[in-house]
Amino acid sequence: MIRLLAALLLCVVPMLARADPVSGYDFLLPETRALQDDDFANPGMLWVELGQRLWDAPADKGSCRSCHGAPENLRGVGAVYPLWDPELERVISLEQRINQCRERQNEAALPYSSRELLGLSALVMHQSRGIPQSVRTDGPAAEAIERGRLYFDTRRGQLNLSCSNCHDDLTGHRLRGEVISQGQVNGFPIYRQLWQDMGSVGRMIAWCNDAVRAEPLAEGSQMAVELEMYLRARGNGLPIESPAVRR
């Protein structure tokens, strides 16, 4: 009986340790929030506009519009990525789905972190603004999420820190003057002030790896996509904010 109780407790404690999801928006200074809230001032909207131009072009070949119509038709779609692809039998990111579509239309796949791929993913994610992030956590995706969680919880790098050390256990504390957020990704792709540029979840993961002096995960690698899958699942329910502004 005691053993059973102990086992139950062991199962419950890690679940309790994960706090309710809070968007990175809540950790921003008021002026940064204001920048995100104003579509005319939000620098991320420049990428959404670029995405809009790419959506329509080229008109003579298979543009996004030729199959999907207006981008607004994809409202809700971005909120469920990454997802399990039954044909490929693995989870894939939104960026990978965009490239898959392009290749079907005999268009070249866009490089990760290229302006064009960020533009198209920003456009698609932007259509889901306000919709709760809702990646599937059941079925075959569950194993991928579990691998992502394991990566998140493992200490790595010369600084010997896991993602969880800071983004679960030290949320609300300060690194110098910066308040540590939960590391939620509901606003991606984001315009990051530090970069003066737009960035995907993949870019952010590699940046964090570098900050703890670990080997950066390559964007688009299966581990990076599965880590994003875990990050999204961990923040399920948070409204999509793309394009969010972060410091």
């Binding site: 790595r156 820190l161 800071c166 504390h173 300060r174 690194l175 002096r213 670990a214 080997e215």
Partner: protein, 130 residues
């Protein structure tokens, strides 16, 4: 005034060789504590006297105000080298060893964050904070 400056300069030149090792250690200790590529200590700790406002210093580790009154230089050194020896769950990086590390970036592989000399300088500076 001119003569005064002149004399001061001479005094500094004379005193220089005798004072410099200790002074050098003091200033390099403080510099290494501030340097974000080296100790970067105030990312987590408040360290009065380091030349940074308190709100620009972290609140993750304990304040190091007066730490020299609580820990000896050797004790400070041991904590900087590997704080896991005192608390296995610590989030303080081990500055003097790479024992048990995984997935270290090739640029940093096989070497600790700080050299023995750098740890010596930092512990020396902290030991003087009483």
């Amino acid at each position: 005034m001119v003569r005064y400056h002149h004399l001061t300069a001479i005094w500094l030149i004379c005193a220089g060789p005798a004072l410099s090792p200790a002074l050098a250690q003091q200033s390099s200790g403080a510099e290494l504590i501030r340097d974000s590529a080296k100790g970067n200590c105030s990312i987590c700790h408040v360290i009065p006297g380091i030349g940074l406002p308190e709100e620009a210093q972290g609140d993750i580790g304990p304040s190091l105000a007066g730490v020299g009154g609580r820990l000896t230089e050797a004790e400070l050194r041991a904590r900087i080298i590997d704080a896991r020896k005192f608390n296995p769950q610590t989030v303080m990086p081990p500055y003097g060893t790479n024992e048990g590390m995984t997935d270290v970036n090739p640029r940093y592989r096989g070497k600790p964050i700080l050299t023995e000399g750098e740890i010596h300088a930092i512990a020396g500076w902290l030991a003087m904070q009483k």
